[in-house]
Symmetry: C2
């Protein structure tokens, strides 16, 4: 049995980087950027008014001039104009190019315009480029605005759009098969017999993957029949980029998964991790077209399965698509805890961010590892290391928020 840290390292070390594809900017949200985004010209491209008002030459004001003849209007979207002379002004709109001979903008609230004469009060602080966003002050042409290997969120869309990238090179989205086994499982809309339960792991994993940015999933349920399992897994391995299995990996008589995966050429990287929940977790890889593709076989117990997905599979998929490791978050325990087994404990907990800037967590006292009812009231889990038995109130441990 290996430790949680060993399991994490074995998985992450085995993961390479998926290929890229070019998609429209609208489709790039939530994907990993794989090209640098450069300024196509200076940003802003011209000296740009940041307020509505009048454009003047500040030296005229600063040498005593208080009345400026309004020679016209400079709207946003019009070509750059020019003051007739440094003693006149143009009305100017936010976003318009600063007229030649002008060097600052006086905001409309500070001006009174009567009969085409703008009257300015004393005491204004007007200098070179007051209320002007100077050409190139955000970036010179050619500057790297966004480095690759980052998540495309709304703000990356803003930058890419502003430099004219209507298409972006991003990581491909792996197509993932979610495979459940277990003869006790019936579909959601079926009335279960007393000894049966409804299948929920597959749809739960699909939702968690989708909200973590992995939307290309298919759900497959197979009976606890070794031949059917083998046939179906062989077919999935020809066309899916990753398999996430749930159930059938423990020591039961009908736990055919590890054996079948081995037979199909999936090389095992590990099974059995010193953790609760999720001890029977299995991980391996298979090769196709020169790529090594990950297979996660998770326990059938719903909470174990969900926890292992969050702790191992999602970070592995994130690495695969090229995202940087997400910043670890730590939270302080709201009460003392004791846990005796020599296992790392993943304990569901309610987040309690405080006005002090500290994150505290209230661990859930849950019934058994099968109890999703209590887990649903929590925000994530804390990881309590296996080397210890006593965890005092106020000590901070790593906190893993659940997928949305």
């Amino acid at each position: 049995m290996i430790t949680v840290q060993e399991a994490e390292k074995l998985i992450l070390d085995s993961i390479g980087e998926i290929e890229t594809e070019t998609v429209s900017i609208d489709a790039a949200l939530g994907r990993c950027l794989r090209e640098p985004i450069l300024a196509d010209r200076a940003l802003p491209p011209f000296d740009r008014a940041t307020l509505d008002g009048i454009a003047i030459n500040s030296s005229s004001y600063n040498t005593g001039q208080r009345k400026f003849k309004v020679a016209g209007t400079a709207p946003a979207g019009a070509v750059q104009q020019e003051l007739p002379d440094v003693k006149s002004c143009l009305e100017i709109m936010t976003g318009a190019p600063l007229p030649r001979l002008a060097d600052c903008v006086v905001k409309i609230e500070d001006i009174e315009i009567k009969n085409d004469i703008a009257h300015l009060p004393d005491g204004l602080q007007l200098d070179f480029h007051t209320a002007v966003h100077s050409q190139g002050s955000d970036a010179k042409a050619g500057k790297e605005l966004l480095a690759p290997q980052r998540l495309v969120t709304a703000k990356e869309i803003a930058i890419a759009a502003s430099v004219g990238k209507s298409e972006l090179v991003v990581s491909k989205s792996p197509h993932i098969a979610i495979v459940s086994t277990g003869d006790e499982l019936v579909s959601i809309d079926q009335a279960p017999e007393p000894h049966q339960i409804r299948r929920s792991n597959d749809i739960t994993l699909a939702a968690a993957l989708k909200s973590s940015g992995f939307a290309s999933v298919e759900l497959v349920h197979i009976a606890d029949d070794q031949e059917q399992i083998e046939t179906k897994l062989r077919e999935l391995m020809t066309r899916c980029d990753s398999l996430i299995l749930t159930g059938g990996i423990s020591k039961g008589k009908y736990d055919y998964i590890p054996e079948t995966l081995a037979k199909l050429g999936v090389s095992i990287r590990f099974q059995w991790v010193s953790q609760r929940p999720g001890k029977p977790m299995w991980y391996g890889q298979f090769s196709r077209d020169g790529n090594r593709l990950p297979v996660f076989a998770l326990p059938g117990n719903p909470v174990s399965c969900f926890t292992c997905l969050r702790r191992y599979a999602i970070p592995a998929l994130e690495k695969w698509v090229g995202l940087p490791k997400s910043q670890p978050v730590y939270a302080k325990l709201e009460h003392d805890l004791t846990f005796k087994p020599e296992l790392t404990l993943f304990l569901p907990a309610v987040a309690d961010p405080r006005p002090s800037g500290e994150l505290w967590v209230k661990p859930a006292l849950f019934n058994t590892s099968g109890d999703f009812v209590s887990v649903a009231q929590t925000d994530g889990f804390i990881e309590l290391p296996k080397a210890r038995k006593v965890f005092p109130e106020g000590e901070a441990f790593q906190f893993y928020p659940w997928p949305r």
Copy 2:
């Protein structure tokens, strides 16, 4: 000019609750649940083995019996069986119903089976329901497992699926028009003239709304022409549930938006908020079919627009669809700050969660409010109250993460 807190209250107080609709469980992810989810039967529905092993009667073991005849197998998904007598056992798989006469499960690692006899060592701790997830221990039939008015995430999907809800009653998703104006703006794939810039606010707002759970958006760009603006807004008001406008609301000559909205019967709730960025922000509502529908008119400046969307529009939309107010997060300043204007400052900042459980933030020193280039390197903004000018290192303020 009103304060940030007044603006927030005016908006939230004006927002009601959108209607519901019934969608398939797959489509419910990211929506607000609007019905309670009840246990349709006891959870678990039967005494369920939590391990692979043998099912025995613990009193036989505890009175000294160490050899148990294996009378058969109890797989998951099969009907409940019965021990022939309290001195025998059945092999049992995780998830199977505990056989009658048995009261606990002994895990496979503790057993040796030879010639259909299971040999147990001394010293096992076996009691009533050891390794058994007792019927009804998670919930009795009829118990409310999930209350309404919560976000449907993966774990809510797990609960709903387990009780057979293949459809869920959720809030409708408002259809939102994102309207940009500004003659200086050209489309992303167009080569801008020196005095033009590319339109990025609309696609950025669409991305931010989408990643905040509001995917039903349409993008509309209108020239700075009062008649065109009026015609288009009138049409959008007949069929969209909300309008988010960007640009055209300040004091410039061509800022037709507030006037046009008034003409179309949108009643203003406020304009001008003592904040930077985003001072010109405008908010109002219009009536249609007895519903009051929100209109947010945000500044055209990209950073102002994005900040106001995050600070006001997204929380308002979340309230509208019935979600509870999200937990505020606070973060400590990594260095002293001074800000003199009598305005609330929304300052972009990089999050720095520390192993102590504290969240710190490093404020970005950004160029002007138009500088999206620096904003893209931050994780959100902190809100520094307008009543003060000096903000010392180590003090905590509210932190608003950017939409993904």
